[in-house]
Amino acid sequence: MSKKKVISNAQIVDPDSGFNEVSNLYIDGKSIAHIGSKAPDGFKPDEIIDATDQLLFPGIIDLSAYLRDPGQEYKATIESESAAAVSAGITQLYYMPEPQTTIDSMPTVNLIKKRAKAEKKVRIGVIGSITQGLKGEQLTNMGGLKYAGCAGVTNQRQAFSSTRTLRMAMDYATTFDLPVLLHPIDHALMGNGCVHEGAVATRVGLPSIPVAAETTAVAQIITLAEELGVAVHLCRLSAANSVELIRTAKQKGLPVTADVAAHQLFLTEMDISDFNPLCHVQPPLRSQRDLDALRRGVADGTIDAICSDHQPHEIDAKLAPFQQTQPGISALETLLPLTMRLVEEGSMSLETAIASITCRPAKTIRNKQGKIQLGLHADFTLFDKNDLWRLETAKMKSKGKNTPFEGWSFSGRSTKTFVKGKRVFDRSA
């Protein structure tokens, strides 16, 4: 007999179906058995969890996290980051390859999947490399990667050796129905830049990255996707003009999707004016106008998903003059708080905010979860709207404490996280 649970009296928000009511969620084993005020006939719960005054929404699906394991365990491990993820309501994350861990063979995929499974916490999907060693030259054995269970392929932030290689990679991956995730970067235009080109970069004298380093790549990728008739996902937008290009592509009916990192919706170029290495990110923090356009893009659906782009670092990686520090933010634990803050600041509705971290990213990566619906696995989060708290790096569960949001106050916090009907995190425990 599988275990039966009831989450009672929760405000259930399922943006996919538009359901938003105070109700009960009935779980049978791994799956959602019923949603309603009354139990289905013969349902005898083994456990009743009272969720009065709490929100219940689908578990968060994070499209991008660097877990550093295997290879850079001094930065983070699958163990540490799994615990961090579920503590912040994340039930599924996607492990991104990087030059130190290029996921270009079946054994690497299997190793990561094995380590992830041992944690029995968050679901970890693996994104494989689209070229060998992420060098942008020779394609990987994508048929094999698909067979090993890769959820998609990417060249991360590395350059393709030519536009032709990019085009062939997109086409070949589509043979195996692998979602293609591309970071729009023109590496020649980016050069050795590390901050947004503009008045702030000029004043602090840091080498800068023009907006065109992103927009020319966005335009190029959209053009190739249109010609080949393949779907493509654009990762980590930073500029208003990129949002505009994607809006136009979507209006033409092209199968283009996009995401943005949560920090890009809250920080701007002004935040690096004191050389704060914690705000060193790629793509760079841009202007207030870009930030506003990105928020509007999420609100109107042009940008499908908000992700963490989690990049945990050891302290030494950030202890140097700005240019010499490693980019990235340890962000698993701020993805949900920042997204909910968008609602508080009036940028979008609660449903839109939740959709942008659940069913919308799920759809882009062809994952059927991200919803609270009958028959699906019971992956969800309970959220206490009235918990006021302040982010303290010392209390973060991630091994990487590199966040610029230390000291920020948030209203509302995840209390319990469930994956496949099993409680994987409980703040009161």
């Binding site: 000029t202 004298g205 050389f275 140097a320 010499q324």
Partner: protein, 332 residues
């Protein structure tokens, strides 16, 4: 060192002062009050030595140890800092870090920690990355003062102040002046610090002149007017500051050739004639004759280039004595 130490520190400008408002580090001109700049210039004036006069050492920094930390090569800046320290009776050592520990993989912070352990009092830092002096000031021991001798493209504040001293000696007050800075503004920390100094001292108009590829985005927000034509930009100015053009710019698609640059933006007698008849010509050195300036102009009657070098020692003496807490006029 814990992660909370990584949280944003004070802005570079406020980092420069002690809690009671005394100058502690000298990292950037930006954010310094005009009265402080005047005070530094006044003090520097006292240190300016007349030619042929015997150089007496002031005992203001007796017993203090100054370390020149040069991560990037420099002859003029380093030498003038050395002389300034010696004329204030300090002990000074110069480290050429490129040939030292960091090439063996030691981190910048470890280098600093090791030197701190040798009980030094002041670091003079030149580094190829913007914000390096600010970084050292944030993390070094509390009794140490940091002087920025040039960081990346960010700032070179002592150079800017020696230029201000030179301008003041020739022109007096700043508000009626028009000053033009010509050349590679994009890569110039000197230009950025000069702009901050000139605007802080309420200069009438500050102009930057150069081709579009060498004028950084948003520079006008620093309070300057941008010109792309040399003659229009030099029209009626009181001060012309020429910047050094690095040879590698020609390989970076920023400029077609040194020859073309010289034709369009090099300062020759013809260009000089557009400025006021008593305009002065400055250059932070080292000059590229025939690239950004003509020899006749560099050596001509309006050139004050060598006076800048002399003033460099005085300004650095003034700043060194101020951050070490020595009182103005003491034992002079």
């Amino acid at each position: 060192m814990t992660n909370s130490d990584l949280s944003p520190g004070p802005l570079p400008a406020s980092l420069q002062f002690t809690a009671d408002g005394r100058l502690k580090h000298f990292l950037t001109i930006e954010g310094l009050p005009p009265l402080l700049l005047e005070e530094i210039l006044n003090r520097a004036e006292q240190f300016v030595t007349l030619p042929n006069k015997t150089q007496n050492k002031a005992p203001l920094l007796r017993g203090k140890t100054v370390v020149n930390l040069f991560f990037e090569n420099s002859t003029r800046t380093r030498t003038t800092f050395e002389l300034a320290a010696q004329r204030l009776s300090a002990d000074i050592i110069s480290l050429d870090i490129r040939t030292s520990a960091t090439t063996k993989g030691e981190s910048l912070l470890d280098t600093i920690r090791n030197l701190e352990a040798m009980n030094v009092d002041m670091f003079v830092v030149r580094h190829q990355h913007s914000g390096a002096a600010h970084f050292i000031a944030r993390y070094c021991a509390p009794h140490i003062s940091v002087l920025n001798a040039g960081d990346g493209h960010h700032a070179h504040p002592t150079q800017a102040l020696l230029d201000m001293l030179t301008i003041r000696q020739h022109k007096g007050a700043f508000p009626p002046l028009k000053v033009a800075i010509v050349g590679d503004i994009l890569h110039s920390r000197v230009a950025r610090s000069q702009i901050h100094a000139l605007t802080t001292l309420c200069t009438g108009e500050v102009r930057v002149i150069g081709p579009r590829t060498l004028i950084p985005a948003g520079i006008e927000k620093m309070g300057v007017n941008v010109f792309h034509n040399l003659y229009e930009g030099l029209d009626d100015v009181d001060v012309i500051i020429m910047l050094r053009l690095q040879k590698e710019r020609m390989h970076d698609a920023l400029l077609p050739s040194a020859h073309e640059f010289y034709k369009r933006y090099g300062l020759r007698e013809e260009g000089l004639s557009y400025a006021k008849p008593d305009a002065i010509v400055m250059h932070p050195g080292p000059t590229n004759r025939g690239v950004e300036i003509e020899s006749q102009v560099a050596d001509g009657p309006q050139s004050v280039i060598l006076q800048q070098v002399t003033n460099g020692i005085a300004v650095r003496m003034a700043i060194m004595s101020m951050v070490m807490g020595a009182q103005s006029g003491q034992a002079l």
